[in-house]
Symmetry: C2
Subunit: 325 residues, 2 copies
């Protein structure tokens, strides 16, 4: 089994690679469980590689030559995680379209030249939704994205679906909730604060919360995202019918509920490091996102959200802050 | 007011141009009624031009040089009708993507260089819908297109919306019902029979009906399509909120109801020229299309369907078969 992970140097790509290496097998497009022989991590920067099965390719995914290099040795499964994040796609319109749409299409088109159609797991986003939304959002809700990022992700879902329908790939588009708590630094995603207001205080640093206390979010922990990406990959093609797009389960919680959980898990001194400073640009984007889904189809594929937000904070402490054995 | 119509040599493009020339004015993106000074008809073949206001450009819309030529003299409104039809887009995957998606994007991107954002009326299709659908389909129904044509039209709607949201155009995507009765020859659209089974018998020729008698369709007459395209153009930008996509009103009728109407209007000898010969490829595509909409948003913009199918047949006889004065 030859796996490709785009965005492979990013936080999710590296966690996914580690989980796949530990797991050792995946089910191919014919439904056969196979040993993972190679994982190609493709990204704009070289991903770290500390396993002989890992192969690293660095370059611009919007360059067809890089796509050729990634797929030259064949691929049985592709996890396409690479993207320009929401805030950056909004600020740089052309860059967003080039990376988020053109690179995805280039990758899908190149899949048509492979010996057999690969599985293709695409990370879409709940930013494909916007406008007036019921609570919870159901699986038949129209897509009314209110950002370039959301429009680009929606377009890629239709690309993945049509390439799947034509038999070129066995695609699955997973609409991820906002991931919290991300390790590392803030990024240009409008949702970056949803990790920062927990991560920075836990690391002894003040963090700005740019949205109102009652702003609800739809969240998923890093461990649960990886589990759901693998569940989306492993689901048999027969489990899908008229769509390959899946609303991934998560939990719905207001920002003040996230801070309350931080206070319970880590204490007042940590929770008091959150500074409330409203940013109308961030707030406008975040308020267009849906806050609650039934995610019935995703659950039927074996996907699951976290139990509660306290456990999400404890997971971050366990995975990122405790010294390794 | 400078108007561009792509697909301007086609049946709809020519009817739209004639209606606009007769009307003489349109409302620009600032809401001001203005005299139509020029209509550019762009198509792969040269459109007929018998009015000094009409300017003809022939070439491949997927060629950026042609897009430059079309928009070089400026444009206040663009009606983008050009497309590869459903059956052809299904048979020729690459051609469909190139014309139906790439040309639309190229046109939208070129609009960013105009002196002011033009109105941009895009003809989408009810083929953006598919999968399990309620009766009637409401305006918040998810898009689950089951053909390349439907996926391409859906993608263009998101392109139009995001370019509108960014202020590059004032876009409106109108999801047209199947148009019946089209004059002229059969084409490669899977819906071509929906005109052929009326037009050919009225012209004394047998016609094959490739779908079952009880197959329902969502239909609109040529006159009503033109009226709704103009209504979509004239609607003020303030009438739109979270989407620029509109389900255009039509009527829902089974194929046998269409033939019954033909029998009432034109008699048994004409109606008996319909030959029933099932085509599983056509039937499969047509059965994925929705058959009934509430079209509440479209009606709120002043759009309307035909009164009944008998009047649609009489309209074809009046407009296409009666000798002109």
């Amino acid at each position: 089994m030859r796996i490709v992970i785009t965005g492979g140097a990013g936080f999710l790509g590296r966690k996914l690679a580690a989980a796949l290496l530990a797991r050792g097998t995946l089910t191919d497009a014919r439904g056969t469980a196979r040993t993972i022989e190679r994982i190609t991590l493709a990204d704009v920067v070289a991903a770290p590689a500390d396993d002989p099965r890992v192969h690293v390719v660095a370059g611009d995914l919007a360059d067809p030559a890089l796509v050729d290099a990634i797929l030259a040795g064949g691929a049985d499964s592709i996890f396409h995680l690479a993207a320009v994040v929401s805030g950056e796609a909004e600020a740089n319109f052309d860059l967003g379209w080039r990376v988020n749409v053109d690179a995805t299409r280039s990758l899908l088109e190149r899949c048509r030249t492979l010996a057999a159609p690969p599985k293709f797991v695409f990370t879409s986003s709940c930013a494909v939704f916007g406008g007036p939304l019921p609570d919870p959002v159901r699986d038949d809700q129209a897509l009314w994205p209110q950002s370039s990022y959301g429009n680009q992700k929606a377009i890629c879902e239709f690309l993945v679906f049509d390439h799947t329908r034509k038999g070129f790939v066995d695609g699955r588009s997973l609409r991820l909730p906002t991931i919290s708590v991300r390790p590392g630094k803030p990024n240009k995603a409008a949702s970056s604060f949803a990790s920062g207001i927990l991560r920075e205080p836990l690391n002894g640093v003040e963090a700005i919360c740019p949205v109102n206390r009652d702003t609800r979010m739809w969240l998923l922990s890093p461990r649960a995202v990886i589990g759901n990406l693998i569940a989306g990959h492993e689901a048999p093609a027969a489990a899908f019918a008229h769509t390959r797009s899946v609303n991934v389960p998560g939990i719905s919680i207001p920002v003040e509920g996230m801070i309350d959980a931080l206070r319970r898990v880590a204490g007042d001194a940590v929770a008091d490091r959150v500074v409330w400073r409203h940013d109308p640009v961030i707030d406008r984007i975040v308020r267009t996102w849906p806050v609650n889904f039934d995610a019935a189809f995703g659950r039927s594929l074996g996907m699951a959200g976290d139990a509660d937000f306290d456990s999400i904070i404890r997971q971050y402490i366990d995975d990122e802050l405790r010294p390794r054995a």
